[in-house]
Subunit: 207 residues, 2 copies
């Protein structure tokens, strides 16, 4: 299981809900800090100031900055899993895939997401704790998308020997690629590339 | 023009060549520092130690860390332009595209490239000097790839209204995506995704 038990375990549900709210507040503030100052520049003191919570309060929820990154990455997984929910059966899946793909592309090219995700990936290259969180998250996403791709391939009558792992890498890669393009090209326009993205995505799904 | 005049202008060619060698040495050392410690962690002092050159010597070539990043990004552009050289005419371009695409995919998923490029992109999100270098580099690459894509589309008999800018974003995005996938999934294997990548790439080129 990817989701780890919360360090904070609220007694009654109201307390638990408030804790969840405060935990989210810390993750929001930390995300902003990481984008602005980078993982190394962002200190617990700065996150404390931005979230309006004391460092002690932050340490109540998270052991260190790596644990905060893990929390941020887990939120991204939750979003992917929402977009990878099973499709209703007996429907043409193509328009449904297209709709969700457009949502994913839009969300993953928003400046706040882009800055945060690139910072997390850059840190993955040099920080084993962050790498472990990202790799675990990625495994969860790959499991979910494997089921979806199997379903789509069956629904589309695709029957061949192309390894599903390769299809998934290219499918996930297409979204990752748009993230990078949106920062490398200041004139990048997600809407304008939608149609070509869908053509490429379908080709990979039917490869 | 993307390539800026060198700060160092060697007198005779031997001196100029040695300067080029020393400049490359600084870029190599800085690249390693950025990957290991991030842009902010990497100091001129650290780059000096790793390159075996004095800080004064480094400042002789580069005004600041941003100028070093610009130098690093310019080297990446040179490589893209090599891979985007015109194809020989009267030949089936598909195998030629496939060959170059495989080379690009392999190079852009090597750990040293991945760590460096992600650090540069993350810094692009918060540093206007780095952003300006990356955006200028990207413009140069887009100009070169536009010519290539026009040529490929003509050679393949593709005639439609799909904006070439959208095709280029998806094509470049496919390579960018593999970079990110190679770090998010520790089991990523570039060779294994080659074929699906080519299917997606061709679909985008013929969209």
């Amino acid at each position: 299981m990817f989701m780890t038990e919360e360090k904070f375990t609220g007694g009654e549900s109201g307390r638990s809900l408030r804790a969840k709210g405060r935990r989210e507040q810390i993750l929001d503030a930390a995300s902003e800090c990481f984008v602005r100052e980078g993982f190394h520049g962002a200190s617990i003191a700065r996150i404390s100031k931005l979230s309006g919570m004391s460092p002690g309060h932050i340490y109540h929820f998270f052991d260190n900055k790596e644990a905060i990154v893990k929390g941020i990455v887990e939120r991204m997984v939750v979003r992917w899993l929402e977009l990878l929910q099973p499709y209703p059966t007996n429907l043409d899946v193509v328009p449904l895939i297209a709709e969700r793909a457009r949502i994913a592309a839009t969300e993953r090219t928003r400046p706040d997401f882009v800055g945060l995700w690139l910072e997390v990936l850059a840190e993955t290259a040099r920080n084993t704790a962050v790498a472990s969180a990202v790799h675990e998250a990625d495994r969860t996403i790959r499991v979910a998308i494997t089921e979806q791709v199997r379903y789509i391939r069956a629904a589309r009558g695709v029957r061949n020997d192309t390894p599903i792992e390769a299809v998934i890498e290219v499918v996930l890669g297409i979204f990752e690629g748009l993230t990078n393009r949106s920062i490398a090209n200041p004139d990048f326009n997600c809407r304008a590339v939608d149609d070509v993205m869908m053509v490429s995505l379908r080709a990979a799904l039917e490869a």
